[in-house]
């Protein structure tokens, strides 16, 4: 296999664009609403139901149709369901914290629970975007009104304009009691959302 010069690591396969035709056929509704376990199943994850919604926009302010969005978050107690936390007493059996949806129009709506704060972090959800024209881009969204936003290391690493671009606005409550949070993601141009890269770059 190909190896990097001077390194024992294998050379990673290049990421590539998903193109415009990521199959809608691969849609899994259980990944679009993490508050529901599935038809006829008793049980639910703990936590305040929230709906994170908004638009994904391109450089011209047009909706970015056909985007694939992935979400990753801690449970209500701030614990991620990752191998590092195997056996952790505060894991929630009914909450994996991973979501995925493909938006035909560029508008999105993700139903989940409010993640807990963990360690030094404010509640947040990591969002990964795949679409035609780009390979994966990654950002993290925060929630208006959380005191911990002021001390969060990711937010603190950004200037105030960029911070505001990552804080979802509270937009009321649904009849069912879910808190609504609104965030537009701007892929490029004026008001561009800050996207992140591995710290070892």
């Amino acid at each position: 296999m190909t190896q990097d010069n001077g390194s024992n690591l294998l050379k990673a396969t290049n990421e590539d664009t998903s193109g415009p035709f990521f199959p809608i056929y691969f849609q899994d509704e259980s990944l679009e609403d993490l508050t529901v376990l599935g038809p006829g199943i008793v049980g639910a994850p703990s936590g305040q139901h929230i709906i994170l919604c908004g638009r994904v926009l391109d450089r011209h302010g047009n909706l970015a149709n056909g985007v694939l969005m992935e979400f990753w978050q801690a449970n209500a107690k701030g614990i991620y369901n990752s191998p590092a936390n195997l056996g952790h007493p505060d894991l929630d059996s009914w909450f994996n914290g991973y979501g995925r949806l493909r938006s035909a129009s560029g508008e999105y709506k993700f139903c989940t629970i409010m993640p807990g704060a963990s360690d030094s972090r404010a509640p947040n959800i990591t969002i990964t975007l795949f679409s035609d024209g780009i390979s994966r881009i990654v950002t993290q969204v925060f929630f208006e009104g959380h005191k911990a936003n002021e001390t969060d290391p990711v937010l603190k690493s950004l200037d105030t304009d960029d911070q505001a671009r990552l804080i979802a606005r509270h937009g009321g409550q649904t009849d069912g009691g879910a808190e609504i949070y609104l965030l537009d993601i701007v892929m490029a141009g004026v008001n561009e959302t800050p996207f992140f890269d591995d710290f070892e770059s």
Partner: protein, 222 residues
């Protein structure tokens, strides 16, 4: 203070890339927050057992038009550790260059014996295998006559390994002008399947495509 990482490239002649590629350099993730950026995909996959054979819609059905091929490979992380039980979602255009996707408005011919979407899971040793019909190239920019070379889309989700990529074919005339291939530079070689003999198999061509998931924004807990 913000620390900056890569500046992403815009694919030449790719309008969508121009519209959607962030213009500011990526921000570096503070090390204390790094793990929070690494999703772990729970292994709860829905797969139909016949999906590994995309040359036909269902067992016992006729094959689609074109050349049946096999694609095999091993999925590993950068340390060479096989990634087992990973989901590979596969989609490719039919022999005529058309996707069976409601948003494909190319008007190219559909094939009533080709579905073009399938899912497989890697085995204990990280190996995967599927059959499909060799995809047609399609005209991506009719105004300037730029084609997308033959390619197969692969989306890999396995624990903290996540990758969307494409396998290209050797010696294709359109490879050189492809915007994404241009962005990959010399590394494009890595995304081309390597041919092998299939005389003992019920397919006409075989392509080896070993996949290494790693690089930026990837962490492994193993």
């Amino acid at each position: 203070m913000t620390q900056f990482g890569r500046q992403l490239g815009i694919g030449p002649t790719d309008n969508t890339s121009d519209q959607r590629t962030p213009r500011k350099p990526l921000r570096l993730i503070p090390s204390v927050a790094r793990e929070s950026f690494v999703p772990v995909v729970p292994a709860r996959y829905v797969i139909r057992t016949h999906e590994w054979d995309m040359t036909r819609i269902a067992p016992g059905r006729p094959r689609g038009d074109g050349t049946p091929i096999e694609v095999t490979g091993t999925l590993r992380n950068e340390n060479g550790t096989p990634i087992r039980d990973a989901l590979i979602e596969i989609w490719n255009a039919n022999h005529h260059g058309r996707y069976r996707h409601v948003e494909d408005a190319s008007g190219l011919q559909l094939d009533e014996n080709f579905f073009g979407m399938g899912r497989v899971v890697t085995d204990e040793d990280g190996n995967y295998r599927f059959w499909t019909i060799s995809p047609g190239a399609y005209l991506a920019r009719p105004d300037i006559g730029r084609w997308r070379p033959k390619h197969i889309h692969l989306s890999i989700s396995g624990g903290s390994a996540r990758l969307i990529t494409q396998m290209y074919f050797p010696n294709e005339p359109n490879n050189a002008s492809d915007p994404m291939a241009i962005l990959m530079g010399d590394g494009f070689e890595n995304n081309i399947g390597k041919t092998y003999e299939t005389s003992d198999l019920d397919v006409d061509e075989g392509y080896r495509f070993d996949i290494v998931v790693g690089g930026r924004n990837a962490t492994f807990f193993e």
